[in-house]
Assembly symmetry: D2
Homo-oligomer: 382 residues x 4
């Protein structure tokens, strides 16, 4: 019985943002080893990265297609690939690996077009592969706790949702700017690389997933106003939403809201209670039963759900952060693949990672927002 997996990575050289987070996250549980990669089309940067991780020279690939091909041919080939390139490559890279029978964990947004995302789903099913999409915030322990509380009926029926993801770092694209914030890669502003949306595609889509993960609800339609402020893509979005249970809500997503760094905040209101989670202080969860004092749940305490306990890493008060959220996504995904390679059936808890279905929902959401905004904020069905 295998106890560990081998994995490869596409994208994420030593200077990239998210690739390194993935690698550290995988290391938390020590059940998968990086053995192959194509980290950068530039071979020097690619090699530098591969050597840092002591990969065999012949598994530092110049090209992801070659990588898919070669790895699928090896006996000790990778069990899954992590795709951490800019958006425009997700679809084609994922497809390539699926076609070669390799499980895929891909960054969000899954693809440019809804059809592409659906194609990937069909392909994964056809090949019997597990396809995760890295909506990483649902990896947070207290997001899982929120989901459990909703499932248990603690807040009753969801009647209203108010969620936001606010950042500041692009405000200089409209202001008189010499702001000195550290910025993410600027490909996000380029339609050819990022797709039809910057702000909604990069962060708004995290709102959509996190809310849907917690509530179990699906979006029915959106009415969105996106602001480009003279840029090719949107930097700001205010979005009315309607869920399949008839409840309404509002999502705000922005890269120009001064004072907010990475401000994902989710508030779910129900007939019997409400829940609030704030990503920048992720170890607590506010839970209020109607007519009662707000309760501040702390990760790691005896009163949290079994699921939250299972996924806990550190004692209460010892802060977990972004890496742990990613590590939790990988924990479940790797458990699933491990069971698969060992011929076992993954348990419900193992399957607790965002899938290609979540990826499709995300792409649909982005498209619906952009379309609505182009049509004077008319409701667009999802």
């Amino acid at each position: 019985m295998r106890k560990t997996l081998r994995y490869g990575m596409v994208g994420g050289d030593l200077n990239a943002f998210i690739g390194g987070v993935h690698r550290i996250a995988v290391n938390f549980d020590g059940r998968a080893q990086l053995v192959a990669g194509c980290f950068n089309p530039d071979m020097a940067a690619n090699k530098e990265c591969g050597q840092f991780y002591r990969l065999d020279e012949d598994r530092i690939y110049a090209d992801y297609k070659e990588m898919a091909q070669k790895e699928s041919e090896r006996e000790d080939g990778i069990d899954f690939v992590s795709i951490v390139t800019p958006n425009f490559l997700h679809y084609q890279v994922a497809k390539e690996f699926l076609n070669h029978g390799i499980n895929v964990l891909c960054e969000k947004p899954l693809s440019f077009e809804v059809g592409e995302a659906e194609e990937l789903k069909a392909l994964a099913e056809e090949k019997g592969l597990y396809f995760a999409v890295n909506y990483s915030y649902s990896g947070n322990n207290m997001v899982k706790e929120a989901r459990e509380l909703v499932k248990q009926g603690v807040i009753g029926d969801v009647i209203n949702v108010n969620a936001e993801y606010l950042q500041e770092y692009l405000v200089d694209d409209i202001g008189k700017g010499d702001q000195k914030m550290v910025k993410l890669s600027s490909w996000r502003k380029d339609p050819k690389v990022a797709g039809i949306s910057n702000c909604v595609g990069d962060i708004g889509t995290h709102i959509e997933h996190t809310v849907s993960y917690i509530t179990g609800l699906k979006l029915k339609k959106v009415a969105a106003v996106l602001d480009n402020y003279g840029q090719p893509l949107d930097l700001n979005a205010n979005i009315l939403v309607e869920f399949d249970n008839g409840a309404h809500g509002v999502y705000s997503s922005s890269q120009v809201c001064v004072g907010h760094m990475n401000g994902l905040v989710v508030r779910i209101f129900g007939t019997e209670g409400a829940i609030e989670w704030v990503q920048e202080n992720p170890n607590v969860l506010s839970v209020t039963l109607k007519g009662q004092p707000t309760q501040i749940y702390n990760r790691g305490m005896g009163y949290v759900s079994e699921r939250s306990k299972e996924m806990n890493r550190l004692p209460s008060g010892h802060p977990e952060g972004l890496y742990e959220a990613f590590a939790n996504i990988y924990k479940c995904y790797i458990s699933t693949i491990l069971k698969k390679v060992n011929g076992e059936e993954p348990a419900e808890g193992d399957l607790d990672f965002p899938t290609v279905d979540d990826g499709i929902a995300g792409v649909k959401f982005i498209h619906a927002c952009v379309e609505s905004s182009k049509n004077n904020a008319v409701w667009v069905e999802i």
Copy 2:
């Protein structure tokens, strides 16, 4: 030269909510005395209230019309009247006093119909009277500070607004309820007394005013989704807004959001900075310049604006609350009327109270929201 004023009150008996707040607020500066009133159509309650305040028996009126008439005839008649009845009476009572040449401070929302509000404005102008509408949150010292900062250009041009006013107390109208919250008068849910809206009319309109007071912007249009959850009037609203400068934003107003008592929160985002004010902790203001740490301004400190200092009552760290906000509205209004009765010109600072124009804006906002919601959240011009 007169140093104090005489005023009367319509509505606000000893069991009412807001009338008592007005009376205490007036007392803060000791420059106006309650001398006449019609506090309740029920004469027993009316008398009880008048006697508590040691009014002359003949100035405890059974009827507001009689009161307007008699007071206008007395040499020592009231200088202004405060109208603190349920909504449906505002227009008719205000009109009566204006017609008798008496200045009016009226509770919000100003009237049921936009035409009525405009009629009141015309009448006040014709008669040369001062008409205040009690959008009391703009009386808060740190709301004034926010306005000064925006005026000074500290946050640059406003590009996005995110504001909300969330309450919990009506959640039992949809939940399985034995919640034991203290509740406001239930006339708010009755269209005949409250008008075409409950939630937007009672609290949403405070968002509209507070934002407009701070930013100096006017609303151009709204796209609103109101939720009635089977009740005659709305209990929840999510509203996209567009301002006259082209900026967008979102307002959320609710009486069913568990965990929120009286949660007016205003966040104004500009090209150079942002401001956040939270009514439940009103003595501080969050101010962020782009790329800089958020600063927590404290009321009463040396660094606040001259205007904030002028309107300050207590040293920093000694909390002012709701009464002081009301007292500040009255402070300005009474200064204005005092100057008027003494033949002087009110200064800019004296005129810093919400007027009939704000009242009109509020009624227009309510109508636009209701109309939009009835038409599938289509944009409605204001």
Copy 3:
């Protein structure tokens, strides 16, 4: 039966800090009227103040002794006097009014010497008078709620206390200063006017009272380090305390802690739970039962104690502040005196104001801290 009282004031002219707060506070419930005063030894300022409040000219007294004498001789003389002068006058003014049979509400600290405070107590008892000492923070609604919770045993036995009262405004007395904070009267730094302590006497003593009010415990001994930083009196104090039940704790009091305006924070830890109250955000109370999530109690909600409800003024979420705390002290004190003048027995709730006994405890505390600090922080019994 009398429904209202008459009161006089010593100290507190129009430029003073706390006298005006008292007058507004009394007005909240409208059951006592200011009819006499000696607001300032300077007659111009004295008159200006008296006239502002429309006092009869012959009741604006040049001298508090004359005032005590004359008021005691009038049939419509004052029912009680509020003493709001700097500290050195409290004892002599209080004594004068007691000697003339007039009830006294006096500011803290009650006197310079413990013996003086005890003398006042004896005198009040002898004369059958009610003597309140204005430890105003126990007037806060949520401080009362805290006391109820402790009484009900919710937090078990008190085992540790951590409380502080931190201010910034005197830091320039030690720093290189052009700080522009609004400052309180500088007599606080003068031993002849303030007494043997500045920081402990002005604010530390509020910690002592508030903790004792909430817990019902008495201090047994203190070990204190006071820092004068080259000034005649202390500006900073760190104090170990031991209570009569054997529990320990620590009090920190400072006028040189940058970032703190009026930071009274009280945390009471028990065997079964804990309570935290923060004066600058006074409408909430943090309550934690061991092993459970922290609960944020909101003033005005259905779940608070009967006592908290009785003393409530505004619906939940509508902030009460400093004035209301003072108004609550007066509410109880005036109820007590009203019952007295009407020959009734005050109820337990009426008597819920700090008395001369609390005043004595405060003076003892100040003396013990100063003595301990002079003796190398040795324990000093109280």
Copy 4:
């Protein structure tokens, strides 16, 4: 030139708390590999752990002495050892490895006796070895930022310190208990394993180090009250402190303070400003200049110091937590050892880890507190 190190571990099997944190922390930067260990005296648990990490069978040692011996003899022996056993073993294990010429990173508290700690220092110096003591909170990025700000003189001279480390998890040792908190290993309450103190030794000592790290000040003396509540060792401590610059302060350390999970809070007050850091929300730092608004510094922003930038891992708003603090300690320690093995001189930034001197200071602090408490809280020099 070597790019990576080999390390071993004593203690920290798969069920231990802190050993696993160390291993994950080392992995963040990928520059050291675990190759040897003695994780548990029980051989089954020891093997299980070693195998999980794929160690060579002959490097899973039954005994730490054997491990020190064998590793020192191998050509590819470990470059350093991490000691993560309960306290009583630190001294002897560390001594053994030093004696065999192996660099040591040891958990705190360093030893039972001051003399032992000093002996370790002398031995390390004699052997030319680097000795780190894992006061992990100084690994936090914003603690480093605090230290930089103090160094730059931003808060002027330190005049007062208020710091605490409060936990709840042992309250049942005194209450009527069925609290369901997750608890740390109970050896902490056993004098034979933990040493002369539980609460001060386990967490109070972190306060001492963190304050000294930030301020650069050394403790001169302490006056402490420790509460055992009938247990063999202390569960609660309130401690007056005096620094070498004459400033005073207070430290509170407790394992029985309900509502606090892992509440290390450090507040440093200076003549020109103040700084506050809260471990449970570690990515921000409150900085106030006197007379100015409090500023909330965010890790990862452009305005932080060069040092903070060097040690940054994630963009602002993406929370780092406990693992990253440990990873930062290792980052510096490993950089130092790498330079050493390559014959280079470590830079100032490399040496930014707590050393055996900090370990000695910690043991002295614990002893002084215990001695003071036994002698009625008399001042004890350090």
